[in-house]
Amino acid sequence: MDNNTAIQLVNITKSFGAVKANENVSFDIRKHEILALLGENGSGKTTVMNMLAGIYYPDEGEIFVNGKQVSIKDPKDAFDLGIGMIHQHYKLIDVFTALENIVLGLKPGDNNDMASARTRVNDICSRYGFEMDLDMKVYDMTVSQKQTLEIIKVLYRGADILILDEPTAVLTPQETERLFTIIRNMRNDGKAIVIITHKLNEVLEISDRVTILRKGHFIGTVNTKETNEKELTEMMVGEKITLDINRDLIEEKHLRLQVRNLTVINNENKKVVDDVSFDLYSGEILGIAGISGSGQKELLEAIMGLQKSEEGSSVIYYSTAHGVHELVGLSTREIISYGLHLAFVPEDRLGMGLVGNMGMTDNVMLKRYRKGKGPFLHRAQPQQMAIKIKDELEVDTPSLDYPVRRLSGGNVQKVLVGREINNKPTVLMTAYAVRGLDINTSYAIYNLLNEQKKHGVAVVYVGEDLDVLLALSDRILVLCNGKVNGILDGRSAHKEEVGMLMTNLKKGDQHE
């Protein structure tokens, strides 16, 4: 180790329940240098940095800061060691001014009153090239200004080691340029800087070295000058792993959904789904790949009528039983009644689709209560269905009325997916159906989806794991920034190809 090493991580391991987020990760962070931490979603980039910031505590392994072994128990310890992390979700108080946010939590001491704080902040701003109105309230700020404020905040606290979690995700190209200039200024001033990212072009533009993580493992560190996009992609997505998932080819296919020019604009006035067009057939699984937040959720919700789609969007549904319908403009209830079902598993698993305090029967009933006659609930049928789900999917629950909130994650997901399947869908859309599940339960769910496919259901599978997407899907649609960046054949597609499409928007529109 030389004098330039700011932080050394040795064999860091961190698990959340059964899931290993980091396993034996070792690398070092140096002064006068910008290190890019590269990896797919769920590769453990943010987790390992959170351990430096004092948010998580490693299960195993050692951390050395400036050559001394340290134990970082909470954010305060991290500050004291000069480590500052800028999270993706900014930690700012909306109703406070910039200056108030900067001094928050600091002990009033020498030269720390508001007036001298202001002078010091102004010094920092002019030194690195920040522009900031210190009396502006945070709620009046743009995202970029908030980010600037976060960086000033950690610098004011004397951070020498800055960690930025996906700093460009929310910035315009011009703002990104400005940020990069500032980052370079900080590096030239002797700071150690880590950028967590999955954007290859930015890695190549700004970093000096790149450390790559994959599925919680440390893959390698390379000098940016000596590498290229292709090598980085390979390191990031890894060798194709052959998974033993059945994939039958169904000969008889019918067009079910014809999505054309679907556009969704969210509350922040951002186009989250941008002119998406594709077809969906019965007897196939259409995989949707993309970095998280590329519009997967909004796309599915727009089809289900849960999100407002913009003028010009069209989703035409071809059904043998119900005829041909334009779904845009219909209510979710009508769309469900035509046989479209969505099983979305959000990050906290329970947030959508199930009521945590209710048992299986009641949760099944949530989608059927209108089928009864009169004002009373008819529990017999839903109960039978709950029994069926429990037996078929081997849901481990003490009773049908046991609150699903108390079940393990895998069982909760089985209930959710099982309910949608048992409602006999013609189109079944699932998102992150295996999120956080162990391997056996995951396979149970893959088999369920395959079975549906065999029964002539059109299945949409939004997933995070590329290996699974490649093994399960008949076709793969790649989303990038809300746009369709390519539709590939699941049997012939290469992992690198999908990885490239996920991270780099193709120039011009080249649909299929």
Partner: protein
């Protein structure tokens, strides 16, 4: 309307306002730190009964009670018991992360019950209803400011004819405003009420702050109960939960002031003024209103008058939320328990 009537009305409003101002600034302290303590009415009941019990036993144990000791003993009893109630609330909502609304309402029921239970015992000990008497303590609390209270004629009568706690609470309200807006500790405390995760990340000890806010806030609110017992009802006790009714107005006043203690300094008196409308409103106006609203009995009209403070609060709430000025809104994390996120 005669000037005596107006004077009596002002005087009643100020005494009333003092009770709820204590409750309100105590509750504001708690709410600014994210704790929605709906137990404030109960805490005020506990503070009231504790001060009464302390004074009662002291006065009964000596033949010639010392007024300074009277004040110290009853204040100490009040503050300790109220702070303990705040500690209980804190333990349930901060450490055990129980639902704040349920905990608060339960604390109100608990406080009211305990206070009335011991109130009944004290009444029995003193020999019957209306017999309880802590005259010395009450007198000590009703002591007015020297000079100001008798040398300024009508000004003395309007502004300085009240017990000294009336002026203490005003100073406390302004002091708390200064604390919130001008001190580091106040800034940290407000940060917790807005966004505890951010405050935590900034190295602020969220738990310590929340406990402190709950205990100190409750102690301040409890003094409102003491003032009610010693000044408002002149050192007696009736099991009518009168304090509780005022306690709810104290909670409403927090919203009315948009969480700014400085606004409580006039808002509390305004509430008092509105509350006593039914007693002091000129009969001509009352008769006219009864005609318009087709109210047949004057007691019905009284109940309508008593609704005015709540109506005012509702109007203010609507105005504040339609105004959308962020600084006037409730603290963003009010009523939400905080625990450091784990996956």
């Amino acid at each position: 309307m005669t000037s005596e009537l107006l004077l009596a009305w002002i005087s009643a409003a100020i005494t009333f306002g003092t009770v709820i101002m204590f409750g309100s600034i105590g509750e504001t302290l708690n709410e600014k730190c994210g704790g929605l303590n709906l137990g404030t009415p109960g805490v005020m009941m506990l503070g009231g009964i504790a001060s009464l019990a302390g004074a009662f036993f002291y006065e009964n144990s000596v033949s010639n009670p010392n007024p300074v000791l009277c004040v110290i003993i009853s204040l100490l009893c009040c503050i300790i018991v109220s702070a303990l109630a705040g500690l209980l609330y804190g333990f349930l909502t901060i450490t055990l992360r129980a639902n704040q609304n349920v905990t608060g309402l339960t604390l109100t029921i608990f406080g009211t019950g305990v206070a009335n239970f011991f109130g009944g015992s004290l009444v029995k000990l003193s020999g019957g209803v209306g017999q309880i008497n802590v005259a010395a303590t009450s007198k000590a609390f009703k002591a007015m400011l020297p000079v100001l209270s008798d040398k300024l004629g009508v000004i003395s009568k309007i502004f300085f004819s009240y017990g000294w706690l009336t002026y203490v609470v005003l100073i406390m309200a302004f002091a708390m405003q200064y604390f919130f807006s001008r001190t580091r500790t106040g800034l940290n405390l407000r940060a917790i009420g807005e966004n505890p995760a951010t405050a935590d990340a900034a190295g602020i000890n969220v738990t310590v702050y929340k406990y402190a806010a709950s205990c100190i806030g409750s102690a301040i609110a409890g003094i409102g109960g003491l003032f009610y017992v010693m000044d408002y009802v002149k050192g007696t006790w009736a099991n009518d939960s009168g304090i509780e009714a005022l306690g709810w107005l104290a909670v409403a006043l927090v919203i009315f002031t948009s969480w700014k203690p400085k606004n409580a300094t006039w808002g509390a008196y305004l509430f008092g003024f509105c509350y006593w409308v039914y007693l002091y409103v000129p009969s001509g106006i009352s008769a006219f209103l009864m005609k318009i609203f087709k109210v047949s009995k004057s007691t019905y009209m009284q109940n309508l008058y008593k609704m005015i403070p709540y109506l005012v609060t509702i109007v203010v709430l609507i105005m504040v939320s339609s105004h959308k000025k962020r600084e006037n809104q409730a603290p963003a994390s009010l009523g939400v328990s905080y625990f450091r996120e784990d996956r």
